[in-house]
Amino acid sequence: MRNLLTALLVFCGCAAAAGNEAIAIRNAKIVTVSGPVINKGTVVVRNGLIQEVGENVQIPADAIVVDGEGMTVYPGLVDALSTWGMPGAAAGAARGGGRGAATTTAAAPAAPPARGPEDRPSTTSWIKAADEIQAGDKRIETARNAGFTTAAVWPTRGFFAGQGSLIDLLSGEKAGEMVLVPSLGQYISFTRAGGGGGMGGGFPSALMGMIAYVRQIYLDADHYQLVKDAYAKNPRGMQRPEYDRALEGVLESKRILLPANRWVEIDRMIHFAAELKQPAIYYGLREGFEDRSVKYLKDANATVLVSLKWPEKARDQDPEQEDPYRQMVLREKAPTTPAVLKKNGIKFALYSDGLDAPRDLQRAVKKAIDSGLSREDALRALTLSPAEIYGVQDRLGSIEKGKIANLVVTKGELFDDRTKIEFVLVDGNKYVPAPEVPTGGRGGGAAAATPNGVNR
């Protein structure tokens, strides 16, 4: 039975429905993250939850037993800021600091250019990633092959791009089943959705215009709330306040994500969040290693998401071309950011930022480890830390009884070049990665997609 099942899994590379049956992984090394490592133990999973974990665990009679000899069990990895599953989100769209321009699919009908904040330019604050998720997105499977089981998925186009959702990386399921938290907050960027802008091309076009716009929206939201409350209290004799979906979306977002890469931007955005009186998470953090960045973040008791897309020399750059000193320092130091943040007690998680090929993700994390971050802390920054940042540490991020059964089982240490991911459990559903097929051409993100796709 077990062999047959395994064979089936290998062939189709897709999920085995958990049903009521339990899965028990025994004799494995278990890296719980929340507690000490269990060198030889058992994890029992049932109904999508972790039923038991420990050195001496009674394996239920009906359990499918996996012999974990020589294997290591980790909590499933969590991408703290992702676009996996979002329709039309090109790789790199989630980049911070206004560097990744939104491109393709924002099919902007020839609307007249915005003449001011009243026209709510590039604003879709009301949309929730959970409502947009395409369960058939190939990148979900690719990411899972790299050990990711969960992602905080965000709409990333526009100034108020919309609300992020926490989803489990299931394939071929109804999108609704994937959702853990429908709204995590509001994604703010200083990049216009779908290009445009400039002289007469619609407000706002300059960074200061974008900042002014965000500020005006929060002033408007405050006022809107006041008027709405007054109307609710006593509508008689009062003009009905006009419904404004942009402000509704902003008001229902309990935190904001703000882009900050340079130390100047980190300083600027910390001041801005304080002015807006919004709980904020800063994303990007390329210069998080700078002494000043550390000081600002510490003083503000800030929480940050560090992009795994380390600055690199352009592949097609003229080898003779000499880069500015500043740029070289950035390339050298950016990967030390996680280690520096850890040392200074700043709460952080890592995020994929457009990387989705397992190999690229693994390399990126390894680079942070090689730059001083311990393996434990790297793992934490991709499991329990993002869970804590989004307030779901009671459900996710570590291997504990009662938590969601999101696990990665490997041969070898996670983030190592030669490590093989044996299988992944998402909500107790078992996925076995298909062997990585090398492909030509760039954007090898789909390299590991199985032939048996899950497109609907």
Partner: protein, 445 residues
């Protein structure tokens, strides 16, 4: 801990607690004494004493400026440096909701270069694409500080206006007529520019009335719902209340007179006319309004509306009673405003003191900070520049610059530090080269 300490030092270090004395210098400054040889004592960031015979306090850092010249820090009344993400919110004709303060970039190398040219403060303006542009502010060139640390605290903030070609052309690719409708932006004529300004102030007056009524109701103990706060009109309300200075980009005499009429109609003042290349034609009217004129020394004919410029402009305006200054509008020209000032001696025959005033005390007056900077006088901020030669000579070089008593530029250490910087860069480049796999060995991607 060490890092935090270091960061602390970087951020808080320059408080200027120690005493600095500059001796034997030729001091050139506005003030009772004019040009003389003497001593300056700097304490706690301020000028404590200045004179021919001054006691040197014990424990002071003494700088012997024998044969050298000292002037107050140069002030550039029109600059666009140290701004992130564009200086023009050019999408709309009234962009008074935007603020340069939000996008200060304290690591712009132009700040350091300005320092090296003796500039210690600059009026950072929004661009000129809009009839009414963004909010502006005055920065000190405190290289090494963060955005907040750059701000000239206590200085009245400003707003940029612009007349003529720029606001009417921006967004109108073909001058308005025949432009693609989605690109067309009102106005496309000078008449339209005036209209845009008047309309904006009509709105601002109404807005102000709404808020005044609300404030009055609150004062009476009532609890009405406050009106909506509109950032665009908020800054214009401040103009009407005299809390924000208007710096108006302009060229032609007719548009200068137009704006004076508009200002009179709506009851606000124009603090400075910027560029004001035809200011010499209407200097009396400018002086009567109480506005300053901040112009170029000898830069003209780069567009039709700049054809009537003359190099005598600053001198003529000065003689007609306009507080005049020379500005750069450019991060390169900014580094040699001292020689720009000297040109006004050749064209127009200003005295040395008058010429120097064009880039020191006069811009300070135009920006409303002449009680703080612009001259070397007791009680003022210790913003001081040492030149090796006469600062009005084009052979002179800036040697040292202090802002608030902190030495932020020193030519000697800059020059001697260069080989080390080169070495560091080379080390990094070599390291990168070693880490890059040889051509051909690269992973196919």
């Amino acid at each position: 801990m060490k890092n935090a300490l270091l960061a602390g030092l970087i951020l808080l270090g320059p408080l200027g607690a120690e005493v600095t004395v500059i001796q034997n210098a030729t001091i050139m400054s506005e003030g009772a004494k004019g040009t003389f040889k003497g001593t300056i004592v700097v304490e706690n960031g301020k000028i404590k004493e200045v004179g021919e015979n001054v006691m040197v306090p014990a424990g002071a850092t003494v700088i012997d400026a024998q044969g050298q010249f000292v002037i107050p820090g140069i002030i550039d009344c029109h600059s666009h440096i140290a701004v992130d993400g564009g200086v023009n919110e050019g999408s709309v004709s009234v962009s008074s909701m935007v603020n340069i303060k939000d996008v200060i970039n304290p690591e712009d190398i132009a700040i350091y270069r300005a320092l090296a040219g003796g500039v210690t403060a600059a009026n950072i303006l929004h661009g000129s694409a809009n009839a009414i542009g963004g909010q502006t502010l005055l920065l000190k060139m405190r290289w090494g500080q963060d955005a907040e640390g750059m701000i000239f605290q206590g200085a009245t903030p400003g707003i940029k206006f612009a007349l003529g070609e720029n606001p009417k052309r921006a967004g109108n690719v073909q001058g308005g007529r025949g432009a693609a409708p989605t690109n067309a932006r009102y106005p496309a004529t000078r008449m339209g520019v005036e209209d845009v300004i008047r309309e904006a102030f009509n709105e601002a007056k109404q807005y102000k009335a709404t808020w005044d009524a609300y404030d009055a109701a609150v004062a009476k103990g009532q609890h009405p719902i406050p009106p909506r706060k509109d950032l665009k009109l908020e800054s214009l309300k401040e103009v009407l209340e005299g809390k924000r200075f208007v710096h108006a980009h302009c060229y032609r005499a007719d548009e200068i007179l137009m704006l004076i009429r508009v200002a009179d109609d709506y009851g606000f003042k124009i603090k400075t006319f910027q560029h004001v290349l035809e200011g010499y034609k209407v200097a009396k009217e400018i002086a009567a309004h109480g506005a300053g004129g901040s112009t170029f020394s000898d830069w003209w004919a780069y567009k039709a509306e700049a054809f009537d410029a003359i190099p005598y402009n600053a001198a003529v305006m000065t003689r007609k009673g306009v507080v005049s200054s020379l500005n750069s509008d450019d991060d390169e020209l900014m580094r040699r405003l001292n020689t720009e000032a000297a040109k006004a001696m050749k064209y127009g025959g200003l005295s040395r003191e008058e010429a120097l005033a064009l880039v020191t005390i006069n811009p300070a007056k135009q920006l409303g900070v002449d009680n703080r900077v612009g001259s070397i006088e007791v009680g003022k901020d210790a913003d001081i520049v040492i030149y090796d030669k006469d600062p009005l000579s084009n052979f002179s070089k800036v040697q040292k610059v202090w802002i608030d008593g902190n030495k932020l530029f020193d030519r000697d250490s800059d020059v001697s530090g260069r080989p080390n910087k080169e070495l560091e860069k080379k080390k990094l480049a070599d390291k990168e080269k070693a880490a890059t796999p040889a051509q051909g060995a690269r992973r196919p991607q």
